[in-house]
């Protein structure tokens, strides 16, 4: 067996017997993401469902003169409150302080204006800077528009005019997003957790085989043996890669299971994490494990102790998934130049897979090649470092 194989086998056995390495690879790494994801997603989904269904309460001023309007609002799950405010300034202050989401003020001449066919005025009192009040504002506005339209249609019909004459344009929206595509925003979070869990799964091994070995004093005698430094380093990186790859696999499976328990269908979403898609995701993400193994090994090899290494690797762990956050805030379509950015390319390709859409095979090839190249580059830098004398000091 070559020295590389000897080192690989020894480090694998050593890591498998190390409980901390195992726990971080098989438990923390892969399960942390899906659990957090499930919690966040089900909270967000429930919030969306709740807001659409639950009645809202809206304080009204001068509501006595608009009984028909009030009963229309009631049918639309909007309960008006006549007593709470009598003074418009008090209502405005309450809205400004966000005690009330929206309020409604009816003009004193509302009833009279309706009867004479003038424009009857109502004011929605709202704070447009308050994001949490937006859904209530939108619902109230939609209900008022609907009421107004209904009256308009009746008036035209009474005069023997076809109401559709007053609507020369019919604006319709043709939503081409597939149900899976709509869930992509939520599932975008998934790639972030996948990358993170891959890194987390192998970092303990990367530290243990480099900084840990140095700290325990077992590195120096190792360097007096006939095996080359390159063989030592690649053997170590190989084991870190295996742990990251295992962590990634478990993470994907636990995502596929977790998604089944999410009420995505209730908000018109489906997530396609069929076994075939999971295999595809694994193929897309696996090169990232190579990058992670190289990166974590070179970072840890610059430190002298386990604790020091943990500090620097946790900083290094934040960096790779950063491009994903940028893209979630500012969405882009996959393109060849973007495939040159590791982590971003994996995110975009996985997103296509989850949407159930095909991607350019060249994109996958470029993404994998660049990502593996970065990992190999880190590995070569580690070999260089192990050839130098600074590793002993």
């Amino acid at each position: 067996m070559s020295a590389l194989g000897v080192v690989f086998r020894k480090e694998l056995v050593d890591s498998l017997r190390e409980r901390r390495s195992l726990v971080s690879a098989l438990v923390f790494g892969p399960l942390f993401g899906p659990i957090l994801f499930t919690l966040i997603t089900s909270y967000a989904v429930n919030l969306q469902i709740d807001e659409a269904e639950q009645p809202i309460e809206v304080p009204i001023i001068n509501g006595e003169g608009a009984a028909n309007l009030v009963s229309h609002l009631f049918r639309r799950q909007i309960d008006v409150d006549h007593e709470r405010f009598t003074d418009v300034d008090a209502l405005r202050d309450a809205v400004r302080r966000a005690e009330v989401d929206v309020g409604l003020m009816v003009d004193r001449d509302f009833g009279e204006a309706l009867a004479t066919g003038d424009a009857a005025r109502v004011w929605i009192v709202a704070d447009m800077a308050n994001n949490s009040a937006r859904p209530a504002f939108a619902r109230l506005r939609a209900a008022l528009n609907e009421y107004g339209l209904g009256i308009g249609v009746q008036r035209l019909a009474l005069r023997g005019v076809d109401p559709s004459l007053a609507r020369p344009l019919a604006v319709l929206t043709d939503d081409v997003s597939t149900p899976s595509a709509r869930s992509v925003l939520l599932l975008g979070m998934m790639t972030y957790f996948l990358l993170f869990s891959a890194l987390l799964g192998g970092t303990h091994v990367a530290i243990d085989t480099t900084a840990g070995e140095r700290e325990r004093g077992s590195l120096e005698p190792l360097l007096t043996l006939a095996a080359s430094r390159a063989e030592l380093v690649w053997g170590k990186i190989g084991v870190t890669f295996v742990f990251m790859a295992a962590s990634l696999a478990i993470c994907i499976v636990s995502f596929a299971v977790a998604v089944r328990f999410l009420p995505l269908a209730e908000i018109g979403m489906t997530a396609t994490l069929t076994p075939l898609v999971c295999v595809g995701i694994y193929a897309v993400m696996l090169p990232f494990a190579a990058l992670g193994a190289g990166l974590m090994t070179i970072v840890a090899s610059f430190t002298k102790s386990f604790r020091e290494a943990q500090t620097y690797t946790s900083i290094a762990m934040v960096a790779p998934p950063l491009p994903i956050i940028l893209v979630v805030l500012n969405p882009v379509q996959p393109s060849l130049p973007l495939m040159l950015v590791p982590s971003l390319s994996q995110h975009l390709l996985v997103t296509e897979l989850v949407k159930g859409e095909a991607f350019d095979p060249w994109h996958l090839a470029v993404s994998a090649a660049v990502t593996i190249a970065v990992g190999v580059g880190c590995g070569l830098a580690t070999v260089r470092r192990y050839r130098g004398e600074a590793i002993l000091v």
Partner: protein
């Protein structure tokens, strides 16, 4: 056979070696003696090929350490001063790992590991994980790792540091046995008595240079002291 001529080594501003020279013959135990910080470890690390000298020559069995480090590594067995075992591996796995990295293979490796386990009486705990080993057990396994490929040259850096009486005795026996097999044994120490008892030849190093090099008798007459400890102090102070 180890030949060292005029080695120099600088770490940044610190001049660790300023011209160390000595020879260690086959079938002899050579002690590298000197106070802490004298340059003993640096010299041994150059001989082990893990540090490169700035100038000067170091040869092991006629091979220059700078020219063919891999040949030198195959020829030597090394016991560094805090040589740790792999705690998650058994004694046998520790030894076999070193044997494999020194290029042994297949049945050859099996035989070498078996032989050294038997010779150092490691058998009773050969399959136990090294994590809970006593000092004596650890030392035996570390020695077995260094000797498994049967090197003609044995290099030990402060091997007796922190060892109890029993462990020291094990070490001494192994060193003497190796010498009687015709090996070249080089070890460093800052403990005078230990060197006096074991060594056929002594090189005293202080301040990065060799101060005296010779047998105990030669050193006594060169420094004009009857007692070897006085001779050591005189030699070190004289540098």
């Amino acid at each position: 056979m180890i030949e060292v001529e005029n080695l120099t080594k600088r770490f940044g501003k610190v001049e660790a070696l300023r011209g160390v020279s000595f020879t260690a013959a086959d079938g002899r135990i050579t002690g590298l003696l000197g106070p802490n910080g004298a340059g003993k470890s640096t010299t041994l690390r150059i001989l082990c090929t893990i540090l490169a000298a700035d100038s000067g020559v170091a040869r092991v069995e006629g091979v220059d350490v700078g020219e063919d480090p891999v040949a030198v590594r195959r020829a030597i067995g090394v016991l560094p001063h805090n040589s740790a075992l792999f705690g998650n591996l058994s004694a046998r796995e520790n030894i076999a790992y070193y044997a494999a990295l020194q290029g042994l293979d297949g049945s050859q490796l099996e035989h070498a590991v078996e032989r050294i386990i038997e010779r150092l009486d490691i058998g009773p705990y050969a399959t136990r994980r090294a994590k809970g080993f006593s000092q004596g057990e650890r030392l035996r396994v570390a020695l077995a790792r260094a000797l498994v490929h049967e090197p003609a040259t044995l290099i030990l850096d402060e091997p007796t540091n922190g060892l109890d009486v029993m462990a020291t005795r094990v070490l001494r026996d192994v060193i003497l046995e190796r010498r009687d097999h015709g090996c070249c044994v080089l070890f460093s120490s800052h403990v005078m008595q230990e060197v006096a008892v074991l060594c056929d030849r002594i090189a005293i190093v202080a301040g990065g240079t060799t101060v005296v090099d010779g047998t105990a008798e030669e050193i006594r007459s060169a420094t004009g002291c009857d007692d070897l400890e006085d001779a050591f102090v005189a030699a070190v102070a004289g540098s």
